[in-house]
C-alpha cells in the first residue's frame, strides 16, 4: 500500500462523511502551507517571539559524569511557552486556522498540557475555545483547568468511557461533526486521521531541526542515539524527523511501562505483546485492544502517555526497524526524575522522564566521545500534585490538608 495518508500499513483517514469536506479543505490548506516558505518563516517568527525557540540543548555534564559513558544532551522543550513541546503544534495550527478563516477551536487533552497550549493559542489568536478533558483528568489536573478557564477557554469534563484521553478525543470529534463549519479541531499529537499525523509532525519537526544544528555545534558530530517518550508520538517524531535519514543515529521511543509489561497495567503499544492492528479515532495503528477490537484501559503515572493508540508514522518506523521501542515503568520514572533534579537542577515532566530512564540505562554502554540526546518534552513543575503525591511527600500532604481546612471554614 502506498495510499494517501498512509505510512506503510498505518494511518489513513477513517472519518465520518460529515467531516469529509472539512478534511478536504484542511488537506488543501496544509499542502499550500507546506509549499509556502513564507508560512514556515511566519511560524518560526511566531515561535521565536512568542515562545523561546530555538530551545536550548543542555549538556548534562553531571549526569554524563555520573554514568561514565556517553555525553548526555537534553533538548529543552520544557522552556517553551506553556512548558512543553505542545506549543509547537498548536501555534502552527493556529496560523492555519487563521488562514482558513475559522473562529473557533476545540481540542482534547489528557494531562492538560495540550489543552493549556490550545487555550493559550486561542487567547493569542482571538479564537473561541472549548477543551474536552476526561472527568477523571479534570479531577487530577485542576491547576491546568484553572488556567485554561482563566485564558478564556471552556473546559468540558467528559464522562464517557474511561473518562480519559481517548474519550476526550471522541467527545471532540462529536463537537466537530456538530460545528464543523466554523470550528477547527486542534489535534494534539501525531495521531488521528490524515493529515493530522503528518501536519503535527511537520510543526514538531522544528525540534529536531534545531537539535541537529545544536549537536553539531556543541558536540562536533552526530549523536549516537536519540531518546524520546512516546504518548501519541509528537515529541518523538519532532526530534526524530530530521535524523531519519542519518543511518548512524539510532532512534529510541520510550513507552509507558506502567506497573510493568507483564501486569497489563501499562500503555506500551509497540514494545509489548499486548497491542494489535486496529482502526479507531480516525486512523489505523497498533492499539491496546481486546480480541473483539474493544479498547483496553491503559495505565501510566504520566497522563500524557496513557493512551491506547500510537502514531501511524511511528508504527511504520517500528515495522521498518528504524525506531527501537522500549518501556519505562512508573517506578523507574520516579527515580530518573529524582536523579535528574538532584544532578542537573532540571525537572522533567513525568512523560519526559520516561525518555531519561532508557537513556540512563544505555549511556554507560557508550563511550565518552559519543553523544546522546534526550528530548525533554516538558517541565514537571506543573505536575506538582502528581509528583508530590507519587513521592508520597508528607509535608505536601499536610500543606494540602491545612489549605483545605481554611477553605472548609470560609466556604
Amino acid at each position: 500500500m502506498n495510499k494517501k495518508g498512509f505510512f506503510g500499513n498505518w494511518g489513513g483517514a477513517y472519518i465520518p462523511e460529515i467531516l469529509f469536506q472539512t478534511f478536504q479543505e484542511l488537506n488543501t490548506e496544509f499542502e499550500r502551507c507546506k509549499n509556502d516558505p513564507d508560512f514556515w518563516q511566519q511560524y518560526i517568527d511566531l515561535m521565536s517571539t512568542y515562545s523561546c525557540r530555538p530551545t536550548p540543548l543542555t549538556h548534562a555534564s553531571n549526569l554524563s559524569r555520573y554514568f561514565g559513558g556517553a555525553q548526555i544532551y537534553i533538548k529543552r522543550e520544557d522552556l517553551n511557552h506553556t512548558g512543553a513541546h505542545k506549543a509547537n503544534n498548536v501555534m502552527g495550527q493556529g496560523l492555519m486556522v487563521q488562514r482558513m478563516g475559522k473562529k473557533r477551536v476545540i481540542a482534547e487533552t489528557g494531562a492538560g498540557q495540550h489543552g493549556m497550549a490550545t487555550a493559550t493559542m486561542a487567547a493569542k489568536f482571538g479564537f473561541d475555545c472549548t477543551i474536552y478533558m476526561g472527568e477523571e483528568d479534570v479531577r487530577r489536573q485542576r491547576p491546568n483547568v484553572f488556567w485554561m478557564e482563566k485564558m478564556g477557554a471552556q473546559v468540558i469534563p467528559v464522562t464517557d468511557g474511561s473518562r480519559t484521553l481517548k474519550d476526550a478525543i471522541n467527545a471532540a470529534f462529536r463537537d466537530w461533526v456538530t460545528n464543523v463549519d466554523n470550528t477547527h479541531y486542534v489535534f494534539g499529537t501525531v495521531c488521528g486521521p490524515h493529515p493530522f499525523p503528518e501536519m503535527v509532525g511537520w510543526f514538531q519537526s522544528i525540534i529536531g531541526m534545531e537539535a541537529h544544528k545544536q549537536i553539531l555545534k556543541q558536540h562536533g558530530r552526530m549523536p549516537a542515539r536519540i531518546y524520546a517518550c512516546v504518548g501519541g508520538g509528537s515529541n518523538a517524531m519532532g526530534v526524530f524527523k530530521r535524523f531519519l535519514n542519518e543511518p548512524e543515529v539510532e532512534l529510541i521511543g520510550v513507552e509507558a511501562g506502567g506497573h510493568g509489561l507483564q501486569t497489563g497495567a501499562h500503555a506500551a503499544r509497540l514494545c509489548s505483546q499486548d497491542a494489535s492492528a486496529g482502526v479507531a479515532q480516525g486512523y489505523k495503528t497498533m492499539f491496546l485492544q481486546d480480541d473483539d477490537g474493544q479498547m483496553k484501559d491503559t495505565h501510566s503515572v504520566a497522563a500524557g502517555l496513557d493512551y491506547v493508540g500510537v502514531s501511524p508514522i511511528l508504527a511504520d518506523l517500528w515495522e521498518q526497524g528504524r525506531v527501537r521501542f522500549e518501556a519505562a515503568t512508573d517506578k523507574e520514572v520516579m527515580s530518573a526524575l529524582d536523579l535528574t533534579m538532584k544532578k542537573e537542577g532540571i525537572i522533567p515532566a513525568l512523560e519526559s522522564a520516561h525518555a531519561f530512564v532508557q537513556a540512563f540505562k544505555e549511556a554507560p554502554l557508550l563511550s565518552g566521545d559519543e553523544a546522546i540526546i534526550i528530548n525533554m518534552s516538558g517541565r514537571g513543575d506543573k505536575d506538582i500534585f502528581t509528583i508530590a503525591h507519587a513521592f508520597d511527600d508528607p509535608s505536601w500532604k499536610e500543606f494540602i490538608i491545612e489549605r483545605a481546612r481554611e477553605y472548609s471554614h470560609y466556604s
Binding site: 495510499k3 494517501k4 489513513g12 483517514a13 477513517y14 472519518i15 465520518p16 462523511e17 460529515i18 467531516l19 469529509f20 469536506q21 472539512t22 464517557d160 468511557g161 481517548k166 471522541n170 470529534f173 462529536r174 461533526v177 456538530t178 460545528n179 464543523v180 463549519d181 494489535s276 492492528a277 486496529g278 482502526v279 479507531a280 479515532q281 480516525g282 492499539f287 485492544q289 480480541d291 473483539d292 477490537g293 474493544q294 479498547m295
Partner: protein, 254 residues
C-alpha cells in the same frame, strides 16, 4: 433478494418506510429480542443492529451509553453475530449490522462478511469507513451480496455524493444534519434543498436519520425520502417504559 429490491418492494405498499436501530446486548439480548419482535409486529421495514464498540465516535450520548453498557455487560462480537443470525431467521424483514470499522477489521473482513451472509444479513452501515479507506470492505461486501450502505451528509458536495453513489448499495443513509445521533433535527427549507441534492446524486433509495422523533417528523419526510430512521428515540423509550412501549410507538409513527 438484495436489500435495495426488498425495500423497493415494500415501497410499493407504503408511502414511507421505517428503519429502527437497536444496540445489541443493551440492555440485554433478551430485551433486544422482545423489542425486535414488537418492531416487526408494528410494521417496521428494516432494522439496523449495532454491534457495540468502545469508541463510538459518531454517536450521541444515548447510543454511546448503550454501547458502553453493552460491552460492560459482557457483550461479545460473536454473541452479536449469533443473535443477528437468529433474528434474520425469525423475522421476515431485512436486518443490517451497524458498527464501527474496527469491529469488522479485527474480526477479519472476509470472515465477517461470510458469517453475515450466512446469517442472512442484508446490509452494513459503518460510519467511520469512507470508501477511500474501504476498498477491500466494499469488494468483499459485494462478493457476499451484502449492501455496503454509504452515508451522505449536509456537508457533502454534489460531486462527493455522486462519487459515493458509485460505491454504495441498498440505500443511502442521509444524515439529516451536522452533529451526532440523538438530538432533534429541523426539516426546513435548507433540509429540503439538501435532500433534493441527495436525490439528484443517486438512484438508490434514500433513508434519513439523526433525530427523528415522532409522527410529525416522519410525515415531513414523506414524498422526499424513502425511509425514516428511528434511532436513539426507541432506545430511550425502552429505558423509560420497557420493551412493551415500542410497538405502540412505532405504530403511531405512520
Amino acid at each position: 433478494m438484495q436489500l435495495e429490491q426488498q425495500l423497493r418492494e415494500r415501497l410499493k405498499q407504503k408511502e414511507i418506510l421505517l428503519m429502527t436501530h437497536i444496540v445489541l446486548g443493551y440492555p440485554s439480548f433478551e430485551a433486544n429480542r422482545e423489542v425486535i419482535a414488537q418492531m416487526v409486529a408494528a410494521g417496521v421495514d428494516c432494522i439496523e443492529m449495532q454491534i457495540p464498540f468502545s469508541e463510538p465516535m459518531a454517536d450521541g450520548p444515548v447510543i454511546l451509553k448503550a454501547n458502553q453498557q453493552a460491552i460492560t455487560a459482557g457483550t461479545r462480537v460473536s454473541n452479536c453475530l449469533a443473535f443477528g443470525a437468529e433474528m434474520a431467521a425469525t423475522h421476515d424483514i431485512p436486518f443490517l449490522y451497524m458498527t464501527y470499522y474496527n469491529i469488522i477489521f479485527k474480526y477479519g473482513e472476509q470472515a465477517f462478511m461470510e458469517e453475515a451472509r450466512q446469517a442472512g444479513i442484508k446490509g452494513l452501515i459503518v460510519p467511520d469507513l469512507p470508501p477511500e479507506e474501504g476498498a477491500d470492505y466494499l469488494r468483499l461486501a459485494k462478493e457476499n451480496e451484502i449492501a455496503p450502505i454509504l452515508i451522505y451528509a449536509p456537508t457533502s458536495t454534489d460531486k462527493r455524493m455522486s462519487e459515493l453513489a458509485g460505491h454504495g448499495a441498498g440505500f443511502i443513509y442521509c444524515v439529516a444534519r451536522r452533529g451526532v445521533t440523538g438530538t432533534k433535527s429541523e426539516f426546513g427549507e435548507e433540509f429540503n434543498t439538501y435532500l433534493a441534492r441527495c436525490r439528484a446524486a443517486t438512484t438508490l433509495p434514500l433513508a434519513v436519520g439523526f433525530g427523528i422523533q415522532d409522527r410529525e417528523d416522519v410525515t415531513a419526510l414523506k414524498g422526499k425520502a424513502d425511509m425514516a430512521v428511528i434511532g436513539s428515540r426507541t432506545i430511550k423509550l425502552v429505558e423509560e417504559h420497557g420493551p412493551a412501549a415500542v410497538g405502540p410507538f412505532i405504530s403511531s409513527l405512520r
